[in-house]
């Protein structure tokens, strides 16, 4: 018990206590503090800017999941299953995963510029008026594409591992039962992928819900506030304005919300297979 308690204390209880401490006090300076109860929570929950950022964030995460999960499954089904090409594909796929977040932002920031970036120049050449710095749809889409480019490989690799773990006998039996490719996917592959998909969905949800560096590097949350997501609002509040009280309250709400959504996802996935072991 004790070692577990120590580990949990260090990685969550102690940092969390700090946050909780801030969230219920108004601190003017060293030694000058006022207990304010849940005032900061009320303020944060009624903040219109945060509401907008929250819905923007939610929409973004669901777009990320909606694209990365189906696409990841689809691509993993197309990968080779034997020969040297497996290693080649896996290494190529894994490359984006090795790149740090802010570097990803920088890469796309330059790539998307019409004057010196290949992507921006190509779009301009085919007649699309693309400008992430000026057009909020373009900026938003750029962040989405960036995230898909960066993290789709993770979903593919997870699904590929899940697919490889299905014993051959299942495919053979399906072939004997004259199952179509769709039936094989629907009744063998997808059910067997369930466990890795839970991991993929949870990881991608949490990560995309906390996205910070990429939009920050690309446009600093703009144009306007079109790519200002929750983490950036939080950072501005905590570090920019030094409003640690509201920022702490916001952090707690932010954390609880992620926890709630993950719990819902997990229950939805695992719920219908309750009699399985």
């Amino acid at each position: 018990m004790l070692p577990v308690f120590i580990v949990v204390a260090f990685n969550s209880i102690i940092p969390f206590m700090t946050i909780f401490n801030y969230s219920v006090q108004d601190i003017f300076g060293p030694g000058q503090r006022v207990f304010v109860g849940f005032e900061w929570f009320e303020e944060v929950l009624n903040n219109k800017d945060l509401h907008a950022a929250f819905f923007r964030q939610l929409f973004f995460s669901f777009c990320v999941l909606g694209i990365e999960i189906p696409l990841g499954i689809g691509i993993s089904l197309l990968l080779p299953t034997r020969g040297w090409s497996i290693s080649l594909c896996l290494v190529l796929l894994a490359l984006p995963l090795l790149i740090p977040w802010n570097v990803v932002g920088t890469i796309w920031q330059i790539f998307g510029r019409a004057d010196i970036g290949l992507g921006g120049a190509v779009l301009k050449a085919v007649g699309i008026n693309y400008n992430y710095a000026g057009n909020y749809v373009d900026a938003w889409l750029t962040v989405l594409v960036m995230d898909v480019w960066h993290w789709l490989p993770l979903v593919i690799l997870l699904c590929y591992a899940g697919l490889r773990a299905i014993p051959d006998a299942f495919y053979q039996a399906a072939s004997i039962d004259s199952a179509s490719n769709w039936a094989i996917f629907r009744h063998i592959q997808l059910p067997k992928l369930k466990k890795v998909l839970v991991i993929a969905v949870l990881l991608r949800f949490m990560d995309s819900f906390m996205i910070y560096s990429e939009p920050f590097v690309l446009t600093g949350g703009g144009p306007g506030s079109s790519t200002t997501f929750l983490s950036q609002s939080l950072a501005t509040m905590a570090i920019g304005q030094f409003d640690v009280g509201p920022a702490a309250a916001f952090s707690i709400i932010y954390f609880l919300f992620i926890l709630l959504i993950c719990f819902c996802f997990y229950s939805a996935f695992m719920g219908d297979g309750s009699n399985e072991n």
Binding site: Q172, A173, S175, I176, A183, H187
Partner: protein
């Protein structure tokens, strides 16, 4: 239902096989008669599963032809061959109910739902699954899962054959016995061609009318369980079937007798004749079950030194020695025989076999 002929079948998993060693199956011809209960027996890695997968069409053989009732199906996929196959590891569709599992092969063939319901009902009745039909298949035990796999084959009434690939491996010993009987009953009721792959001789001999013994990619012998026991065509058959396996002793032929070390063993006339013309390495073979104790004046008996005597309940297993050659004999429990003594044994003429270069003469 169909008669299945395999002609000149050879298979290699390597793209460009260069030597004989690269082949999992080497040039074999087997005929499976319609309605037969067959066991495909052999040690692990001898090519049993490969052979089975070639029949069902999961594998295309490198060489040779597969004929169903004389029609060449070598290039047909499993769906066209209409075969049922049950695997070692029970395969069920986890997310479906038992009913949907059984209905799956029918629905894939676009059979009307009314017909599907009728067929599934009948099959469930036959396999005692009626009460489980609405349950999800994933929570069931291995033996019921295996029965469901079997049901997915039986639900199609026109299957050419049912192939069983070591289906009892993951089943508890007690249930194994029940399941084996169930299979046998189904065979008797429907007279479907069944091919049962196993490396367990008891399973093979109790299930099948005909046993095909495979070793190193070759069919060593095909015949009834009795034939394989009494007249093994190859020393490996003698050794693989029976417990303990056949006794093998190097021998020389002198007239109508075989000489093993000091002992002179009489042979039937035709066998002696064949053996005297043989030029290869000769071995005398006799099953422990057929060795008899003898007395001084028994014609053809010989003297041996008794080594170990094990009492195994309904018989005693005697290890005896003539010169440097050891043999085992199963002797009835009433016979008094003791360790270290001299005793006389008789190898009855009609049970003695001579093998030339491992092959029976």
């Amino acid at each position: 239902m169909a008669r299945i002929d395999m002609q000149g079948i050879a298979h290699s998993y390597i793209a460009n096989p260069s030597s004989d060693e690269d082949f999992a199956l080497r040039q074999l011809d087997v005929r499976w008669l319609d309605g037969g209960a067959y066991s495909l027996l052999g040690p692990s890695g001898c090519g049993k599963t490969t052979l089975l997968n070639i029949i069902s069409g999961l594998i295309q053989p490198s060489k040779g032809k597969v004929l169903f009732d004389g029609k060449d199906v070598t290039r047909q996929i499993p769906r066209e061959r209409n075969i049922a196959q049950i695997f070692q590891f029970p395969v069920i569709y986890d997310t479906m109910t038992v009913f949907d599992n059984l209905a799956f092969p029918l629905r894939n063939r676009k059979i009307p739902e009314k017909e599907v319901r009728k067929k599934v009902g009948e099959t469930a009745e036959l396999l005692d699954l009626t009460s489980d039909l609405k349950r999800r298949a994933s929570g069931l035990t291995a033996d019921i899962k295996q029965i469901i796999s079997l049901g997915r084959g039986l639900v199609r009434n026109d299957v050419s054959a049912i192939l069983l690939d070591e289906p009892l491996t993951f089943i508890d010993p007690y249930v194994k016995w029940i399941l084996r009987r169930r299979l046998k009953q189904i065979h008797e009721q429907f007279r479907l061609t069944m091919i049962f792959v196993t490396h367990d001789q008891t399973e093979a001999l109790t299930f099948a009318d005909q046993v095909v013994l495979l070793h190193n990619g070759h069919v060593l012998q095909q015949g009834t369980p009795e034939e394989l026991f009494e007249k093994p065509a190859h020393t490996f058959v003698g050794y693989f079937i029976g417990n303990p396996g056949i006794n093998l002793m190097p021998c020389k032929i002198e007239g109508s007798r075989a000489l093993v070390e000091g002992a002179s063993i009489p042979l039937p006339e035709t066998l002696a004749k064949k053996a005297s013309q043989a030029s290869g390495r000769l071995q005398l073979g006799i099953r422990p079950e057929f060795c008899e104790p003898a007395s001084e004046n028994t014609e053809g008996s010989f003297q041996a030194n008794v080594g170990k005597v094990q009492n195994l309940g309904d018989f005693q297993l005697v290890t005896a020695r003539v010169g440097a050659e050891k043999f085992k004999a199963k002797i009835s429990i009433g016979e008094r025989i003791s360790k270290g003594a001299q005793a006389r044994f008789l190898f009855p003429e009609n049970h003695v076999q001579i093998f030339e270069n491992e092959k029976s003469l």
